[in-house]
Symmetry: C2
Subunit: 335 residues, 2 copies
DNA sequence: GCGCTTATAGCAAACGTTTGCTCATAACTA
DNA sequence: TAGTTATGAGCAAACGTTTGCTATAAGCGC
């Protein structure tokens, strides 16, 4: 039904090889045949079959992108960044949304292998990937973003410097005079969550503020748990500021604050995480550590392409993006 | 380097065909050879080559999903819905983010054709697709979501009933006693924007409220234009309520309201669009018409799969999802 | 004219599967 | 016992390209 390169060849009394060469513009052919072929291509509405080409070339120009939840603005922005550089370089995205399900993630990795993608970018929800996992043993280049499982350096990654992010949050609050600082942290089995907390503690330590374990709540990054944590803190008392390590937990926490009849920042100062809120629809504006989302996407895509072009290069790159703080109105200066 | 079906066949003194049949579990083979093959598969770490399989079967199990901006929560949610049903049915997503660029969209369509995707779901930014466009003339099933270009019924689509949405907004405001109603509308060359406005006008008409063209501002769905429109309206005066037809324009408009020192809903009542805000971080909460985002995703995926299974079926399906209104605190009852 | 280079284009293998057909053998059926 | 059916497995074509190698003819220097 559909015309292929051979159909055209037959029609023009040429061999498939010449037609192929004309279409791809490589090799030698006369201007005359070039024109004949191109005309036929147009007239017969020929559409190259990438599948066949990919089989031949052992290159699919497809990149698997595995993320937990495309609905989180962070990941959406990352993907946007990825797409931008990928499409420019002729690569395309095979999208895998895992719904934060480790099992689905594993299956998607298998699928990507079967589909012979040229590379993989993965924001994993697995906290420890077995060293005999296909990811580590297959020969498809891959980059971890956001969360890096496992210790050691045997992989490439692009992440925010979460340790620094946590430290910056502590430093900031301290610089505003706070010393009784609570924290609502994400999962500690993920590097994203753990490093933020470690950095936070480091910030306290460097400023000679002693730890108060009772003020640190560990949640799952989601709204509901942030709300619950804040409720507990409000009941406990004994703090003037809170570092909340994800945007969703901030939303949940704000809800708890409102329900308790308290006011930010008069009663409680808050420094959040990933609160972009470009048009300040939240009031008071929440001062927040933010990650450079699309930079993470772009950098990971660039790094991956480098790895693909240069497969023998066994060097491991681990890129850390510096976070920023956006000052808004949620932290009271009590100096 | 990598083992294929033939490598295994050779190793076991079998023919590729039997190996293939064992792996796919179709055809006849003895339990003995089944075991031999399966063992070899495991031991040699055989990974099927989907590309080869796809070439042979003329089926890629790939669905092209074209959207303007994955960063908009609406599209992210739609995609999530799509992924859910697609992955369950063994299909995968070839993601195309067009950045609202019609040209890029066109190129992506070509690319999808070259890649022989089994189907396409497209939220187009093109307001009129030529009738000789490949989409309409190729033989790949496709579904429009969100925005449907062209008149007529020669395509499948899944969209919110935007006319109804606009009408519901008008009806709601009127039911609260408002009669001087402004509107900040999106692009009128897209059905999404136009139908919302038409429905809105219909609502006025049915309630015998005469039109006041000066109160209707036409924007581009984005924050900045929403802000500007609201500034104009505030300057003009002469209204008690506004219908704002996109979430981003609501954010922009709120900004303008705040800057003008006015208060919602005391000075201005607002009914927005697509304001999900599950945890009410915006205050006052914005009453809003909302679309069932993931339902749109799921339904479009289901419909597409149906079309793929049933290519001869030349029936066109146009599904309209009923919007909902979420009542919050941004509309004052002045009855 | 002779050898040599260069420009064109064809041949055929390869990429890794799937599948219709054939074939041999074993197992029934009457 | 002959004829039919079921079972297990191989052959080879096909899917639509790309590409290394080869063949032919023309162009050129001498």
């Amino acid at each position: 039904m559909r015309v292929g390169i051979t159909t055209i060849a037959k029609m023009l009394n040429l061999s498939p090889s010449t037609v192929s060469r004309v279409i791809n513009g490589k090799g030698n052919f006369s201007e005359e045949t070039r024109k004949k072929v191109m005309d036929a291509v147009k007239e017969m509405n020929y559409i190259p079959n990438s599948i066949a080409r990919k089989l031949q070339q052992k290159e699919t120009k497809l990149i698997g992108v595995i993320i937990p939840d495309i609905t989180e603005t962070f990941f959406a922005s990352v993907i946007k960044g990825i797409e931008e550089v990928l499409s420019e370089k002729g690569y395309n995205i095979f999208l895998c949304n895992t719904n934060e399900n480790a099992d689905k993630e594993r299956k998607y990795v298998d699928l990507l292998y079967e589909n012979r993608v040229d590379g993989i970018i993965v924001a994993t929800v697995r906290n420890n990937i077995a060293s005999d996992d296909i990811l580590f043993n297959g020969n498809i280049p891959f980059i971890f973003i956001d969360n890096t499982p496992n210790e050691g350096n045997q992989f490439n990654s692009v992440t925010t410097d979460n340790f620094l992010a946590g430290k910056m949050a502590a430093d900031y609050l301290i610089s505003k005079g706070h010393t009784k600082i609570a924290a609502i942290m994400g999962k500690q089995d993920e590097t994203t969550g753990r490093k933020r907390f470690e950095g936070f503690l480091k910030g306290l330590e460097e400023n000679s503020i002693s730890k108060d374990e009772s003020l640190y709540k560990f949640c799952d990054f989601k709204e509901a748990s942030g709300c619950r944590a804040m409720e507990e803190l409000i009941e406990q008392k004994g703090f003037t500021a809170v570092f909340i390590a994800s945007s969703k937990m901030v939303y949940g926490a704000l809800w708890a604050v409102k329900k308790a009849g308290l006011v930010v920042p008069d009663d409680i100062s808050i420094i959040g995480f990933d609160i972009i809120d470009k048009y300040q629809v939240i009031s008071p504006g929440i001062t927040s550590v933010i990650q450079l989302e699309d930079e993470i996407g772009k950098s990971s895509a660039k790094l991956l392409i480098e790895k693909i072009k240069n497969k023998e290069d066994k060097l491991y790159h681990q890129l850390y993006m510096e976070p920023k703080i956006i000052e808004r109105e949620s932290v009271k200066n009590i100096m």
